[in-house]
Symmetry: C2
Subunit: 358 residues, 2 copies
Amino acid sequence: MQSDKYDKSKRFDKLKESKKIARKRPTINDVAQLANVSTATVSRCLSKPELVRPDVRTRVEASVVELGYVLDGAAKTLKTHQSKTIGVIVPTLEIGGYASAIQAFEKTVAAEKYTAILGVSDFDADKELQLAHNLAEKGVDGIMLIGMDSDDRLISFLEKVHIPHVNSWHFRRDSKYHWVGFDNRAAIQAITSYVFQHGHRDVVFFVGGAEHANARTELRRQGFMDAISDYNLEFSEGLIFEVPYNSKASQLEFHRLWSLGNRPTAVICANDILAIGVLRACKQIGLRVPDDISVTGFDGLDIMADLWAPITTMAVPAKQIGEESGNCLLNLLTDKNPKTLTELHCTLIEGGSVKSLI
Amino acid sequence: MQSDKYDKSKRFDKLKESKKIARKRPTINDVAQLANVSTATVSRCLSKPELVRPDVRTRVEASVVELGYVLDGAAKTLKTHQSKTIGVIVPTLEIGGYASAIQAFEKTVAAEKYTAILGVSDFDADKELQLAHNLAEKGVDGIMLIGMDSDDRLISFLEKVHIPHVNSWHFRRDSKYHWVGFDNRAAIQAITSYVFQHGHRDVVFFVGGAEHANARTELRRQGFMDAISDYNLEFSEGLIFEVPYNSKASQLEFHRLWSLGNRPTAVICANDILAIGVLRACKQIGLRVPDDISVTGFDGLDIMADLWAPITTMAVPAKQIGEESGNCLLNLLTDKNPKTLTELHCTLIEGGSVKSLI
DNA sequence: AGTTTTGATGTAATCGATTACATTTTTTAG
DNA sequence: CTAAAAAATGTAATCGATTACATCAAAACT
């Protein structure tokens, strides 16, 4: 094996030199030397202090402080194959619910000394895949996926590299993977039924997605149709309006619809942002809510109660999702076997924006 | 140096064994073997592909795909002392502006292949310090601090371990560190003056903080006082109400104030959340806005225009802060010398919630 | 053809921790 | 007081990349 064709002497000289010159952060060796113990003892002081004699421990700790020693996580990770790090992939932080979920997630895993690494996918499946690859290189111990029904490529990649993951926000019943969330379809069905119960029959459905349609959008459409068929009403594609996820877009869409003579008695929106846009259009047109038209949202933003017409909406358990996803992943990481499906529930918040026609 | 007191043979046996058993991810060695090149060549293919002959490169790339090789970032970081990772410390994600700033920041640094590591400090200086220590261990190349006027301990820690950082949101003029943000004091002064210009003289100031007062809160108080003295009005501590950062708290506070017979003509709020709470209280009391009382917010939430009384507010350049902080840090990391202070500006958004008394 | 230059590839030390096992020290038991 | 057991500490291989330098190959000059 050993080959003699290289002359190593020169390199050594150079290396020694640079060692003298470069100002580096102190290493475990420096601490060991100062405290007059071996590196093993220092390492133990840091990770399993109960294994080292109190007086030695004190000496080591003093050296750590004196040198301002900070452990090199890269070296530790390399040796232990554990980074104490969890990746979070989210479509956007601009959706308040996602931000809340992440915050709750971070808090949950931080309690077990895990750090969150953030990736924003912008609803782009390719970017999402790339983020996952990046996170894998960073050595994350697990990954949390929020609010997207992820690409199969992504899931199979995670399987291949053995990174445990949790899907969150909504869920799929028929999956072998771990999900934490609510039943999107049922929740939309519920709020739609609520509108029907109030006697509305001429309703339209605004759903975000146009640009980045995904399974979630699809589930929402289905929830709407479920309610329609529950009430034996007639469904037509024309009742569904796909709108980009922002209030301006839904505002314009409602104007367009209204100007074409489409005059529903109620507008059901698949999220609060769209509802806000509709509300703006109503104000401009001069429609009173709910007297002239009923409007519902979905997400449960606090703010919905403070609009010029308080809007009935469905509160999504964002914080819970974050916590439960965190717990689920923590269990996965300690080989406990968490439930495959953690179902959480939405709550209808009546704002009074649905007029009773009966 | 070499000591003979250890018998190494047993250990080797054990190690070889475990190697056979353990299912590991493929390493650069495996790729090298399969492609029939040295590890050096594989490494070059991955980081400087132009240095390797196309045919070899193709062979290596094929091996990478075949084995499903994922580079071990920990090993790379250990050797290169670069993690391509940036820490972000934020008090909370529940404040929409912070989330926007982080998102913009992430996008900016991601373009240069940096990944963001998130830490939520909950307005707690100790937790913040601990987060910084954690991030240092993780080996972040830089740190972005949002929305807090950070502890001196934090800053000196970062100096000691040589981690470049950017402070953001508001700024301090007299600092040798890097700041990206707006002039908090001046912005509050501006919106307060706006209210005075409309003839109001009997105003109160709601400022968030009570629980976690910091320099930022202090600057806002000062901005308010600046405007007062500009208009030669008389200042009293009783004009300032410190309220926890949530709408419920400010709602209650306004009720309390009103019931005590304090009847200002305008309420200036240091953030939109507080303004929303005040608005709720007004509605409950039966006060019309702005006819009976004027209210202003601060932050520029889109939603302020859709409340039952559209609120005048000051838009904060959150996205810009994220982008510019990102650029600043990127420059810092490449030894370019960015400006110490990047001043951004707020924009007054007139919602009509300030009645003209003249 | 021989020499120099340029380009591509290989060798193996190195980064800074952890940890199995060896060794030494201390405690406990007899 | 000694032997055995338990506790504390030390040694040095190891994790998986990178990269300085050496070497070899091919192209560009004389």
